[in-house]
């Protein structure tokens, strides 16, 4: 029998990865292009990164995005965690199935519809559109993702731990912060990070719900690209890619290390008997 992947598997692998990463690689390469023309290579330069830092509009958009992402992720994490707790903990109540189904709905709902309906709502209540409306819209849809992530963490939760805390004289509210939250914290953090990235790269919903003075980075990039792609935009995107990649690597390193330490501890405990 032949070792290693077959010719067919190898080809599909190469094509698959090329499809995924070639555009990004091109984008990164051209961000270092000397020429103003995106498609013509004229030597290496970092001047577009300098341009980018001098572009006040771009920086403003980045700042708006960061603020929206941070606040919406934080609020969504609080609300999503509460929703997950209710879904997992409350046992059976009237409409539980409906409720838990509804929490998943925004995950599969087309963004256009979500954005449009939120816009209609804001118009109906006569809410001036801007930073707050984008933030609320992002909270709404990322909350569901948080709920799903935290729910999976809660599914294997041993409730007797909370009972033990209460048995030792700890009231329920304090028990939540002293016992429950620390145990589900990895899930909560993962949910926050997910919500943050979702908000960071959302274009559709933000376009629907934003107003003057609250242009997010994806919107800014998109509108600039319509006037023609500049290497400056490539530079911005490269920075974004870099930030996200670093975040993912850091997160996976931390979890890996924790898992390795846990395994080592368990082995040591077993060896000692």
């Amino acid at each position: 029998m032949r070792k290693g992947p077959s010719w067919f598997n190898l080809t599909s692998l190469v094509f698959g990865f090329a499809f995924l990463y070639l555009p990004i690689v091109l984008l990164v390469i051209y961000s270092f292009n000397e020429s103003r023309l995106v498609t013509v290579w004229a030597g290496f330069s970092t001047k577009w990164y300098g341009e980018m830092l001098r572009n006040q509009q771009l920086l403003d958009a980045a700042w708006v995005t960061a603020r929206v992402a941070f606040t919406s992720a934080t609020i969504a994490t609080v609300l999503g965690t509460i929703a997950a707790l209710v879904l997992v903990r409350s046992g059976r109540f009237l409409g539980r199935t409906l409720f838990s189904g509804m929490i998943y709905a925004p995950l599969v709902m087309p963004e256009v519809i979500l954005g449009l309906s939120l816009l209609l709502l804001f118009v109906a209540v006569d809410q001036a559109r801007g930073f707050w409306t984008v933030m609320i819209a992002h909270t709404t849809f990322s909350m569901c993702y948080v709920a799903v992530v935290v729910q999976s963490r809660l599914a294997g939760f041993d409730r007797s731990v909370e009972e033990a805390a209460m048995d030792l004289g700890c009231p329920p509210f304090k028990t939540f912060f002293a016992i429950t939250l620390p145990i589900i914290l990895p899930g909560v953090i993962a949910g926050w990070m997910l919500a943050f990235t979702l908000s960071l790269d959302d274009l559709v919903i933000a376009s629907f719900t934003t107003g003057p003075g609250a242009t997010t980075l994806p919107m800014k990039i998109y509108s600039q690209v319509r006037l023609g792609v500049t290497p400056e935009i490539n530079a911005v995107c490269t920075v974004l890619v870099g930030v996200v990649t670093l975040g993912v690597i850091a997160a996976s390193l931390v979890t890996k290390q924790q898992e390795a330490r846990r395994q080592r501890d368990i082995r040591r405990a077993e060896a000692q008997g």
Binding site: S160, V161, E163, A164, L168, I183, E270
Partner: protein, 383 residues
């Protein structure tokens, strides 16, 4: 007739006999249903202050459910529970003066051993120095001093169990509920801890309610034992009474090993009864009255160590004797168990202490032997 004491008297403590002692924990007609399933069935029980009380029963008979109702994690479907005169209905777990050791240990995974033990003390806002001293005392008690900084997942099963025990004792509660506290410990450590629990209980004057599967453990530590079956209490009595005078076949069979012989009442008076078993030639004489009428079916129960075994027919004219054939032998070191076949469908067990290391004439398979027992060696059971 003066009542003969049953078994050794361990300490002078029997409030349940006085009749006017105030109950400390009281279950009044408590029922707990989960859906259609009745886990605890109209159960009434009184436990006295400073008592060491054991709940014994098969898996799923409702022991943990009873403890959880006392701890406040389940509300009874019907009935009431009183603790020190206070009705516990609606009192949340964190306001009950009882601490529980959970069957699943329920250690806080994100806290080390020390912090786990200190948790309850910190809730009481004790001064720091006192908490530290108490934690050290507890660590010493469960022999985990070197493991104080370990997290629960870095401990073995037995070590975790000891942390759970220490955590529940740390607050020195009025009532300590122990759900299988020693199941994961090896025999030696378990015996040590049993005696330490007993010392602790006398020292601190706490009331202990312990659940165990291990009847030997229950007999060792408890003042009284309740034997449970399917959500009901079958008998509550001291270990010796449970062992020597079980009130039913269930209890007799559950505690220790027993020979049960189905028989009919042949004759009776106020002091003695004669039974006739279809598969025994002679009638069984029992120096015990029975409420069953002549002709009723009853069961004669006798412990294997009270059945004597010999090669010769008993000479003192003991009424209770039967000829048998050795069917099986189990050597346990301190004792040997002989299964002797008396009739086609009746095998009686007899345990013989191995008093000497060698015997002149060993008993072997297929040997013909005589079984005999005294008139007060067994009991008559009507249910």
């Amino acid at each position: 007739m003066a009542k003969k004491p049953i078994g050794p008297v361990r300490r002078d403590f029997a409030p349940w006999e006085s009749g006017n002692a105030k109950p400390f924990i009281e279950f009044r007609n408590v029922t707990k249903r989960f859906g259609d399933f009745t886990a605890v069935d109209n159960l009434s029980l009184t436990i006295y202050e400073r008592e060491f009380f054991a709940l014994l029963g098969g898996s799923g008979c409702g022991k943990t459910t009873m403890m959880r109702m006392l701890g406040g994690f389940e509300e009874p479907s019907a009935g009431e529970i009183f603790l020190d005169g206070q009705n516990l209905a609606g009192v949340p777990p964190y306001r009950r003066p009882a601490n529980m050791m959970f069957q699943s240990y329920a250690l806080f995974p994100h806290m080390n051993v020390e912090k786990n033990i200190a948790f309850g003390l910190r809730q009481d806002k004790l001064p720091k120095g006192e908490i530290e001293a108490r934690v050290q005392q507890m660590l010493k008690l469960v022999k985990l001093e070197e493991f104080a900084r370990r997290k629960p997942h870095q401990l073995s099963g037995g070590q975790r169990q000891r942390v759970a025990l220490a955590r529940s004792i740390a607050k020195k509660p009025k009532v300590l509920l122990l759900d299988e506290p020693l199941g994961a410990l090896d025999r030696k450590l378990r015996e040590e801890t049993q005696f330490e629990l007993m010392d602790l209980q006398t020292e601190l004057g706490m009331t202990f309610l312990i659940v165990t599967h291990d009847q030997e453990e229950a007999m060792t530590v408890a003042d009284r034992i309740a034997v449970m079956d399917k959500g009901r209490i079958i008998q509550v009595a001291t270990p010796a009474e449970i062992y020597e005078t079980p009130n039913s076949r269930f209890v007799a069979d559950f505690i220790g090993s027993i020979n049960l012989i189905e028989a009919k009442v042949a004759a009776k008076n106020e002091a003695a009864t004669r039974l006739k078993a279809p598969n025994l030639d002679r009638e069984i004489a029992v120096s015990q009255p029975t409420e069953a009428g002549v002709g009723d079916t009853v069961w004669f129960a006798i412990r294997p160590e009270k059945v004597r075994l010999g090669f010769d027919a008993p000479q003192n004219g003991a009424a209770n004797a039967a000829e048998a054939e050795i069917w099986d032998i189990g050597y346990l070191g301190d004792v040997s168990i002989f299964h002797a076949r008396v009739a086609e469908d009746l095998i009686l067990k007899s345990t013989v202490a191995n008093i000497t290391r060698t015997v002149e004439r060993p008993i072997s398979w297929d040997d013909k032997v005589w079984l005999s027992w005294d008139e007060d060696a067994g009991v008559i059971l009507t249910r």
